[in-house]
Subunit: 472 residues, 4 copies
């Protein structure tokens, strides 16, 4: 399977512009595919518009069957898809397998939620003007959706757009990342075997210019984007009247209180800091540890980090492998060096080797340093001290981002305070901000995003309420 065709409205098409997909670990070709051109996109849009009504009218049991069928086909191709995903993204196989599991779960949840689209029904007779009348509020699919997915969860973050679109009754055109399009194109081959109406899904790798039409073309009624803040906010400006969801980045923080289970905090934070080399929106980037337990934390954190096994992503035992490309590894190297020059210390790691960057622990960082202030998207964690819990919350909040935060503490008042005051989309108590299961609401505030994903939430953001005023 050396050439993956484009999936254009139910047809597998070869394009004119070839796109090579490279394994970042060994620089070898994984497979070829194509960059879609304007003509392919136009064809997909026209087909998508033409099935809007058919999709809207699908009974829920048919949507359920389609989504369950997709889940079953992924399960049957689990090994193949895991390896493909690991190869195109450099994600260690154990994490790649986890992503396939989650994609299956995302489809299963969507199949169930397709039967449970919320409604509202209430009396209008709160004043005499409404006597004898009642209200039904139902949600209707908005119509054609544009989805743009990032490289770091090439399958599941695409699925978080595709599955809710189908569950809501919308056609969707999905643009995968140029570096990692294969998993999603493979998924298209599975979807094509189901009863999903042709035209309801297209998968098109594109250059940014073509991709821009997903933002500006008014035939799309909804844009769901996962990617960087700069790109995202500019899209919001240009999206016109369409609805938009933005899942952008963050510099997620963890608070470790003296009232915490410290060993748990360490174990979870190491995993959250270095999984897939930190190329995760909610990777643990900043850890604030109460001074009374700081030394103990640092010591054990270092020793656990030292145990991580680097290697080939396709090796089952690998914990950490290459970054997505050398330019990103270089960027991380520069940020670390810049921080060191400004007074920060590297307690562990800190070196680059081609596309590989070592798991790295820093301390004495300041909030102005890029390793703290920006989204590092690399295996670098800074660990700093705090005195009072309120101070720790303020440190997390002193950032342009606000996606998720982790709080390790068994003290109720601290958890309550954190939930009340942390400026984020999600507070994870006694676990890292990296925690996500696929049916929970997910998304950020401040610079980190707009709107929420998580199957049920994504479905609602792809629908529009309609009121019926009716006689009693």
């Amino acid at each position: 399977m050396n050439f993956f065709p484009l999936y254009v409205a139910g047809e597998f098409i070869e394009g004119d512009i070839q796109l090579e997909v490279i394994n970042p670990f060994n620089n070898q070709l994984v497979a070829n595919t194509y960059l879609a051109e304007k003509k392919h996109l136009e064809k997909a849009i026209i087909a998508g518009k033409s099935v809007e009504k058919e999709m809207q009218l699908l009974p829920s049991y048919k949507k359920y069957q389609i989504l369950q069928h997709i889940a079953k086909l992924i399960q049957e191709n689990h090994i193949k898809m895991s390896e493909l995903l690991a190869a195109e993204s450099g994600k260690p196989l154990k994490y790649a397998k986890g992503e396939i599991d989650r994609a299956i779960q995302t489809f299963i949840v969507a199949s169930e939620e397709a039967k449970r689209i919320p409604t509202d029904y209430f009396s209008l007779d709160w004043t005499a003007a409404g006597e004898g009348k009642e209200a039904l509020v139902k949600y209707f699919p908005v119509g054609l959706v544009a989805g743009i997915a990032p490289f770091n969860f090439p399958l599941n973050l695409a699925v978080h757009k595709i599955a809710p679109a189908i569950a809501a009754g919308n056609p969707i055109i999905l643009k995968p990342a140029r570096s990692t399009p294969l998993s999603t194109l493979f998924l298209a081959q599975l979807v094509d075997q189901t009863a999903l109406p042709k035209g309801a899904l297209s998968v098109l790798p594109m250059d940014r210019e073509s991709g821009n039409q997903l933002v500006t073309d008014m035939r799309f009624k909804k844009l769901s984007f996962t990617g960087s803040p700069e790109v995202g906010w500019e899209m919001k400006r240009n999206a016109g009247s369409k609805k938009i969801t933005l899942e952008l980045g963050g510099n997620a923080g963890v608070i470790v209180s003296e009232h915490a289970d410290i060993d748990l905090a360490i174990k979870k934070s190491v995993a959250g800091g270095y999984a897939y080399s930190g190329q995760v929106c909610i990777h643990v980037q900043r850890i604030y540890v109460q001074e009374t337990v700081f030394d103990r934390f640092i010591e054990k954190f270092k020793s656990l980090t030292a145990e991580l096994k680097a290697g080939d992503p396709l090796d089952e035992s690998t914990d950490i492998s290459s970054m997505i490309d050398e330019s990103n590894a270089l960027r991380v190297e520069n940020w670390v060096n810049e921080a060191v020059m400004s007074g920060a210390k590297v307690l562990f790691g800190g070196k680059r080797n081609g596309t590989y960057f070592e798991p790295t622990i820093m301390t004495d960082t300041t909030k102005e340093m890029k390793v703290c202030a920006l989204e590092i998207f690399g295996p670098v964690v800074s660990i700093e001290k705090f005195k009072t819990f309120e101070e720790a919350v303020a440190l997390i909040n002193d950032s342009d981002y606000g996606l998720q935060a982790g709080v390790f503490s068994n003290n109720i008042k601290e958890i309550n305070y954190a939930f009340q005051h942390l400026e984020v989309g999600g507070v994870v108590s006694n676990d890292v901000p990296t925690f996500r299961v696929d049916h929970m609401p997910y998304g950020g505030v401040k610079n980190s995003g707009f709107g929420r994903e998580g199957v049920k939430y994504a479905i609602l953001e792809m629908m529009e309420p309609k009121l019926l005023v009716k006689d009693l």
Copy 2:
């Protein structure tokens, strides 16, 4: 206002059997009223049945206006009603005023909930058999309700039956306690000034024999009873096809962990133990304190108890006054003596003077002693030690009752464990089991009851779901 007439379906009627209402503190007559007879009840039932349809069809804004009007009238008679309630029940005025406030709140909440009767609306097309069909589930009033209220909250526990009945669209016949019927009969005079259809409320003090018809007569579609377990469970047996809610007693326990704010635990527990001489279903009867903080707890608990001011219920500064009658005070005295003879110690109080029983602290009690095993309904608290939190939970559970429990701890795991494992209707963290606000669900498991009150919950228990299967 020496004679309070019966309120029979919109008419104020003098009966043949006179009932004297006595102030238990000074044994003086508060006022006279009557015991309703079979003929009064029959008249009330017939009238109630005849307005069932009118009540069902009342638009929500009219129910809202009626309930708001009642709340406003109580507010205007706040002082008069507080004093009447204090006099008939011996409840200290500060608590009597609180009860009037709560009755107002109960009517306000009911007025708002009358507009928000829940519904369910969902698709039936989960299989092909339901394609093109949707379901609407609405709740309809069951019809005539019988309410039986106890002496200890003579107004607000009657209101917890009357207000939900009106909000649901049901007529109701309310039997107040024989010892404390005046507040509710006064309320009837206020309700009569509103637009509530005549016949939708009757208030009838009765002897138990007449009252028994409220249980057995099939024209009642719902019985809501607050009182003792023996009476309640026998009612359930005889209630036929009608719905039933039982709010029975308890021997509520408190756990004080070493992770608690101990001063808060003491302050709240003294209030929860002795308010209205413990004649409260969720009065603090058993306190389990972790051994590491036991001595400190006992000492301060004693000193706070010693500060309670005994006296005339109509005196604003009184904290504790008479029990409802001498026979109850005697009963408490006997139980305490019996416990002492079996090895328990009295750390404070323990003596009776007529209808007055001192605020009493016991220790070294066992679960077999009546002061622990049964509902004491008097100002007696036992305080015992425990080692592990799990043990404390087991101690609370080792009882026939299960109404509410208080848990003082700032440790998350302890609160979570308590909520998972305590066999009660409500777990109150960092407060006493005596905590109740009027819109929360309230009711017990095991021997403590069946069903839930709390305005929204009581409304639902007075309604019946009806499904409409309709075309899409």
Copy 3:
């Protein structure tokens, strides 16, 4: 597989008292099983109690997996189970297959609902007394459940007790009907292959005396009974403090307005009247047709009825077969004859042949005749005229029963009026009362029942709310 053992808490056991299961169509033995004795029941109860906590603590994904696994195993045994069910009950194979499909769906819905147990979370600060506090209401499994299933849907009505019990986290002991225990005993063999904790399900055919312990034994926390009104209401009396759901009978009515699609009304009513020889709680027993369309309705109804094919239940083409036993067929015969003697006319059918009773149309019946007043549970339909829609609603209501009613009309005002005024658990517009899908609420008012089934509803009736008051 000639002998079906009892399923006692994870063990397949042969009993001492043999029970022959007979095919009512040909009087041949289908298979043998046993009547459980007191010792079997005691063993099942003890085992059930001992797994209550384990069941309560099962995470939802494990309950989901177990319930999905059961559904899958039934699917794999679809043909075998359909034939077994048809043989033991005399239900024509096409309907038997439908019942197997529905049992699968019931398990699937339960698996999904196991993840979606409702909760309530709200602020308590509606008054100053609740400032800083919030409420969480969660539902906890009640503990050991007793289920009693009838003969007419031997599998799916048992499943409507078993699947919700598992989803709620309760162990259950299920008593199938003596005449049709085999499908459920076969199901037990499938359940035993899953990860359901042993002891969480027992299936025990019993005589009524032993079965009575399911009602009176206080170790059961919930009784769910489907059967006759006399038995059911007596159970309610004797159930003590346990929760109870009663799914009893009915004499379901249909209204056919002149604003209806008459052909649809006829087609659906014939099916609803004669499916499984009317041995269905919501079988169409009474049809009221507006006088303007009465003659047309009768004529076509007769001709469609004439097309029904009688025969062996195991023949794919059979529409109608034997009744469950000869005594029931005799009873129907008597009722029809009695009606004729009182003035009713038989327009079609009316004759018995052994266990077979012809599909029968009557008219000129009165509400006092047993064919109207009681639940006939046989293939007999009365068709009568009405003038105004309000009159038709009154005719339906003039009955002791109130399960479901069908209303054929395209006029909004008529449907609204029917929903407001019909005294039933469910109003089915433009379909027969026989309509049921497995996730909808199902149950009757008046003499027809108490509480609701339908997976989500049944789950809630097997759970108990518990409140946590917590700090903000």
Copy 4:
């Protein structure tokens, strides 16, 4: 009360730039106020930001008390406010009074909803990854809100921004329309008497340039705009990362089926067509009548229109009065003339006299004419014929707008079809699209808007969900 000061963060301030408010009926000065300048707005913003936290932490009973207090004060000033509103807007007094009633209701509903902010609480253990974890989702206020209100409901559409902002816990700066700022400035004087924290409300009439800062300043976290589509959509483009709600215009249509109550349709449509001279977003602009009842409809519609009494808005008996200003009246005149030149007919009215425009009926219009295609915001109604119901739905949909639509029919299938296929925010069956009660969701699709108002819905759009992942 000749000069209305600006209300800047709790202070009443006189500005430098005077603004005369003119009664459009008689061209007389109603009162003077000021145009706020940059310095006033800056002061309001700074104050608003400084009370964000205080507003967030207000317990619900305090928000309830404040909102109830405002409602009570409006009630006490009902006559004065009605007359002021009638004078500044030219709205006939009977409608002005209705608007005051609705503003009261909007505050009451908001006070109740402040206690009922929705939450979500569910288990995360749908997979092993979430075992032992649960999710709480609460909504938190976004922070400072900017509200921009139009002239046509000068009070209640401002209140639809102010009341939800307070209920949600947000400070708000409200810009009323320049032509009708007085009612809202008067409201500010009432609000100032309550316990609302100073700074939580400012009311500032502004020119568009200053007003533009409400859109672009990132200190505002939410913009709620009611006004014209061109302005609204441009705002969306410039709003940056803030949330936005747009309530824009429409050309609302009515369908009158032959299955309708025609007299009801006529009566309602005349009211919906000419109330406040059609200066209502959901005014009846297009009526489609089935050909079988067209002539009858036209005739009676004309005769009812002829009965409308024109006159002084402050006269209790006036039905229709001046438009808001002469330029608008001129615009309407031009559009009517243009339509006539293109072939449309005026069946009634059609003439202008200064600011007054006659109630006007047109027919033979086409969808290209401005009287149909654009929002006329004047007392002009076109009535056209249709053959099939599907055609009527298509006619309504053939427009850039989609706010609300009315459908008169008693046929269920027609109402169902309309609800499924009309591209609008609300379908009003058996009433005009002009129907609105204040707690229902309100807002349009297509060019008519973005998001929803209606108290509960507006509150949610002013809040942000935050997830807490917690231990079980």
